[in-house]
Amino acid sequence: MLQKSTLPNHGNTRDGWRPTVSAETTLVLSNQAVNSEYRRLVLSCAALAVSAQPGQFFQLLCPAPAGGKPFLRRPMSVYGTRQEPSQLEFLYKVTGTGTRGLETLHPGDPLDIFGPLGVGFELDPSWRSIAVVGRGAGLATLVPLASAATRAGIHVTAILSARRPDLLVSVDLFRSYGANVVGVTDAEATSGPANVEKILRTLIAGRGCNAFFTCGSSRLMRVLQRLAAEFGLAGQIAMEQQMACGIGLCHCCVRDFNVEGEIVSRRVCWDGPVFDLAEAMP
């Protein structure tokens, strides 16, 4: 049987190879509450990290909060990037050990981040108008997409859903990208699928809509899937799942997808986190 022969070197980096994903120690610039639930974290980072595309994510090595120590990294989608100087932003809600650790960060603290990871959103330059529909922390994922769409000359209608009006995040940010923002909330009884469907039908009949983008709610996902099928629209969804490695090694973050009637298991971290809306399953 053929054997691989002894190699002449001690494993020097091969010519031309460069990492396209890396772990780096960033510096916290700010970490402040934006409302009663969400916090915005701004990091100073290297140029590679700000090459992140809308919908991509990073694995954060969160510091240990009192009474806990996260062993794994925590995945978090990119909320914003800035060039020269390179800055990266995340929006998070304190829910568990990892985010409790993030809450303890102060300006000047180091934070180890690994990324950019996964497959992000794709925009077709021929599109004229898209709708982004998000709920809760899912809104953060859609912000860089709205920014990219505006830069590409695509009009954005943003339907933002939350429990209460004061928890709607990023409304001003979406507006600054020229998006037409419609806030819907549980408190005002406007966030139900029927009302969101009505808003979308009005959009399709009026300005028109080429594609749907969504994150954060399986209830809204089903409305979008139905309308996209009815009107033959493209659609993409950013999905979440508990992760370990974040780069396709461990198969812990799988979800089922319906690919032309066949149920297929895919890794959210590697095949996604952005998937074809039509194939997504709750």
């Binding site: 049987m1 190699l7 494993g11 190879w17 996260p70 508990q242 396709g248 090694l249 198969h251």
Partner: protein, 316 residues
């Protein structure tokens, strides 16, 4: 001073003793580290048939470690040969294929099927359930270890590595059985059977209830098992359990390992393997050791200590 980092696992020469642990490595890591720097590449365990894997959640973190119950999802042998093998063709680093099967004959036929020129060695993951023995892992008893290793040995001319389970009371006896049946090397070891409970819901934290613990939490236990196995067998032992730093790797080599596998640490620090390689070189330079292989089994144990260790021998 230049250090010779190369090691030999039987007939297989490696440029250094560091490779991934099966199940914690895939082609995507090429975005982060250069595969040409590693001692070997080790695939995720493949099976002949399609397997979907276990119900979610598949991992739960613990202080200093991780319990997983992924369940060996596999796209099957044909997919592996057609799609996975070519991904590693561009690399000169030896490719080790991890295999699993529910029967000894299943192991043998799969080993035969992956004995192709692109493959440098086979790692038989015999920590999986043996359906011919009520689902008990092959590596739990010397008899079934010997039976499956013999079947594998007859099936392939490739270097045969046998990966043992740490979940047995007497791993050295298992190691001997594998050596006797023709294994070229032992990988010591797989994950330690474990469990966690969610106190909010009263449910097990894992969809499969039980899983395998890995990470720094298991290192002292697996280090002890490497020591016990390396003392017992003449074939090389590859250490695998909680290695996250070059110092960890050096400990395993001193305890008797010829090479090491890095697994869970890659999830936390994705370039761990490269760090371990560089760190081992620095360690050798610092200690004036010319060949990293000189670390293997160089543990200093006073003769008079030996009788004091009789308590750890298994009861007969």
């Amino acid at each position: 001073m230049s250090v010779d980092l190369s090691v030999a696992i039987g007939s297989l020469r490696m440029r250094n003793p560091v490779m991934p642990a099966s199940g914690t490595f895939a082609e995507g890591l090429d975005k982060v580290i250069d595969f040409e720097r590693l001692g070997a590449l080790v695939t995720k365990t493949i099976t002949r048939e399609l397997r979907t894997g276990n119900p979610l959640p598949r991992v739960v973190e613990q202080p200093g470690g991780l319990i997983n119950s992924i369940g060996i999802p596999s796209k099957g042998l044909d997919y592996f040969i057609e799609h996975t093998l070519p991904l590693y063709a561009p690399f000169s680093t030896p490719l080790v294929v991890s295999i699993s099967a529910p029967t000894a004959e299943g192991f043998a036929s799969l080993a035969r099927a992956v004995s192709v020129p692109e493959v440098a060695a086979i790692e038989a993951n015999i920590s999986c359930p043996n359906i011919e023995e009520d689902g008990k892992a092959f590596a739990m008893t010397p008899e079934s270890t010997e039976r499956v290793t013999s079947a594998l040995r007859s099936a392939t001319g490739l270097p045969l590595w046998v990966k043992l389970t740490p979940n047995t009371g007497d791993i050295a006896t298992i190691a001997s059985a594998a050596e006797r049946a023709g294994a070229d090397a032992l990988v010591v070891a797989n994950t330690i059977l474990a469990m966690a409970v969610d106190l909010k819901t009263f449910r097990p934290c894992l969809g499969n209830i039980l899983g395998g613990l890995s990470g720094p939490a298991v290192k002292p236990i697996i280090l002890r098992q490497v020591y016990q196995c390396a003392k017992t067998v003449r074939i090389p032992v590859i250490g695998c359990g909680g290695i996250a730093t070059a110092e960890d790797a050096a400990e395993f080599m001193l305890a008797g390992a010829t090479a090491v596998q890095v697994g869970t640490a890659t999830f936390i620090k994705p370039d761990t393997m490269v760090q371990v390689i560089e760190g081992l070189e620095h360690f050798c330079v610092h200690r004036d050791i010319g060949r990293v292989g000189d670390l293997t089994g160089a543990l200093v144990v006073e003769e008079s200590d030996e009788p004091d260790m009789a308590w750890m021998e298994p009861a007969q």
